[in-house]
Symmetry: C2
Subunit: 151 residues, 2 copies
DNA sequence: ATTACTGCAAAGGCTTTGCATTGTA
DNA sequence: TACAATGCAAAGCCTTTGCAGTAAT
């Protein structure tokens, strides 16, 4: 996906931000992911390619990309304290965090977008970003718990 | 609503937790609210009645109440870092945080519950809690921005 | 009399920030 | 050359936790 990276760098340029090796590397790391990663994970992947990159730079780049709409930032249950990021080129995506095994179940649905559209229509607000998160049990753990009679 | 408080205290008792003046006070504070408050706000309200109560106690009680299902804990945009709490006796409630004036617009809808039910049906997961939050502009700011041609 | 709860202060986890330096445009 | 971006380390913000003392059952 060099496309996405090129476009992102064009956006940077065009908005007066500089294209640095660190920013490019982070875009590459992000482009290689299919779901959201937290800053620490992104840092680890980037650090493997360039040991001199710092966590602060990762955070600064992710914040910048989020502001520019290049990245989708999100918070996941149950902590909700850790932010996770992903290139903003895909469809709506949410997560259910399993209380038993910790898995994050990916949820692809357009329901939140519909919800946002309805709010715009009925309440007169405007929505710039929306986020939904679920806590519960993944399919495997749900099945296991039912087998054990605990659910 | 002494009802709700009595019921909550009965739950505490019945689950082997002690009913302390601090816990009762916090229930009273919560019962007097119609929307979610953060820990600091709850602490301030409680502290006004009993200056000896501590923030740690507030956090511990809110965590306990949340575990017992007595309180609905939620995270609001754009920070998502601050938790907000409310007695869990009402219908589904979400917020849109206005980027311009900071207002939290209350959103009453059952959409998230429907979404959760659909997940259960289609994915085989189980959902114990769900949360949605929106960032954007409140009706007033939306109107103002449109007037200024900025939206 | 037990055992849980409280207040205090310190620690924790994640993110941001100040500052001197480096690098892009 | 000018100004933004980086790395480092320290600070910040909210929440949790250890401990000794206190109170509920």
């Amino acid at each position: 996906m060099p496309h996405i990276i090129d476009e992102a760098e064009a956006t940077l340029h065009q908005r007066g931000f500089k294209v640095t090796p660190q920013r490019t590397l982070l875009l590459q790391v992000l482009a290689a992911q299919s779901s959201h990663l937290d800053a620490e994970e992104i840092y680890a992947l980037a650090h493997a390619q360039d040991a001199s990159i710092s966590l602060a730079t990762v955070y600064r780049a992710l914040n910048l990309y989020t502001e520019l709409g290049l990245v989708d930032r999100r918070y996941v249950e149950p902590e909700h304290r850790r932010e996770v990021y992903r290139l903003a080129d895909g469809p709506e995506q949410h997560y259910l965090t399993c209380l038993r095994c910790g898995t994050r179940v990916l949820i692809a649905t357009d329901l939140l977008n519909s919800m946002a559209r309805e709010l715009v229509r009925r309440k007169g607000v405007s929505v710039t970003s929306a986020c939904a998160c679920f806590t519960g049990y993944c399919p495997d753990c749900t099945a296991a718990l039912k087998r054990e009679g605990k659910l």
